[in-house]
Amino acid sequence: MSHPRPGRASVVTRPFWEATAEGRFLIQRCGACHKAAFYPRPACPHCGSAELGWEDACGAATVHTFSIARRPTHPKFTGDEPYVVAIVELAEGPHVTTNIVECDPDDVWIGMPVELVFDEVGDDGYALALFRPT
């Protein structure tokens, strides 16, 4: 699959994207309410605190829901269909949009344990976080 690129990261999201080049998936942890959050935000979406720190996600997740795109949902994916677009729940709690790779789309199921796998680092210096069956 040739993925669309994420575009220019903001000051807030850049640490996340830079870490992907090292094979790390960063989430935010709130110093006030201690809840985990994704995607990177300037303040905690649970309590509004700006006291956010970075934390490495362990990479384990389960499929919360998914669909098999039988038609491309973006011009860049033309010819890649069918492919799986999914929402996975990280072991730390937050939900993340991704693609389930390295398996037949028809074999994906809700609750399926999956693990993080990064694709190649692109010209932009970032890698996309994909998930494959554990």
Binding site: G7, A69, T73
Partner: protein, 397 residues
Amino acid sequence: MSVRGTAAVVGVAELKPTRWTDNVSTIDLFTQVGLAAIADAGLELSDIDGLVAHPMAGVPMLVPSTLIESMGLRCSFASTVDLGGATGAAMVWRAAAAIAAGQANAVLCVTAARRQRRIEAPGPKRPSGSGGVGGKDTSAWAEFEVPYGNVGANIGYAMIAQRYLHEHRATPEQLAKIAVHQRDNACVNPDAWFYGERITVDDVLNSPMVADPLHLLEIVMPSGGGAALVVVSPELARKLDRPKAWLLGAGECTTHKTITYAPSLMDTAIKPAADRAFAQAGVTRDQIGLASLYDCYTITVLVTLEEAGFCVRGGGGRFVEEHDLRFNGDFPLNTHGGQLSFSQPGLAGGMSHVTEAVRQVQQRGGERQVKDLSFAFVNGNGGIMSEECALILGVEP
């Protein structure tokens, strides 16, 4: 406080949806349908002192003044609503609120969308931007959704449907029945895109799978068009010798933009919006004679039936199976055909659920008039079940 008794809808107009609207600007469509609604209300241009429209491609800013200038209006209240498919419904209570606040007396609420044929421009191709579809978008969507193809509504609603079918029992046949009965309704609405083209459950289930579990005939078809209505004060409503649809209740809730970050895929914003509308109206679910539910997909209707309280959580499939959803059935649903059969002229698609409810409450449903109708429930739904707005309209104030 409640919106009950603050306003009535007296005029309504709709453009017949078209596949393409070549060489017509959106402002032209707004103007055309807006003037038709004013005429239908029995009002003059000079009677209109409020305008609610929406931003759109081509006119992303300063929409009200552009439209006020085009139509020749002078307004003491001018605004836009930007709530996707919930925009039409959300306009109505905002108009009523402006009237209740003494800022306007007659508010034109107008939606329109053009649909241009994609013509390749000569010369070098423009770069699509680093993010492709999301290239110019600076929201989190461009960074965290576009790269994975979580783009467009199909995939988002498909993921809602998959989760629903994981947690609850509903058969493909039950979901398909929604599309079939709405098509039957469209067959008594000459303005519906699919007027005259009946379908069966097998047709729906044999149509191509677009994004599992959504079949092509469970998905709306985009079109061009427009819809407008005029909301007036109770005093003006009583003066006008016109059928009225009184606004009895309204409720709204917005929780997320992208479905990934919804607090829950099952506990939706539909419920708090509907509960507030029913509480404001002092009306019960079983008094509702018409459910005009946003239907970008069959799953949207199923979830809305449950979340708006017409049946229990997880009971939508059985509810659909046990009821006749046609205009002359025991649970009239989307009597204009819904967007699934009327088509979706942009935000005028969401407005079509309001205009149909208004026409029905005004007893102007013609051949598809719901008998003994006193109350109609409308749900507007924007984004990927992101923005929800519920209205209750009644024959009496």
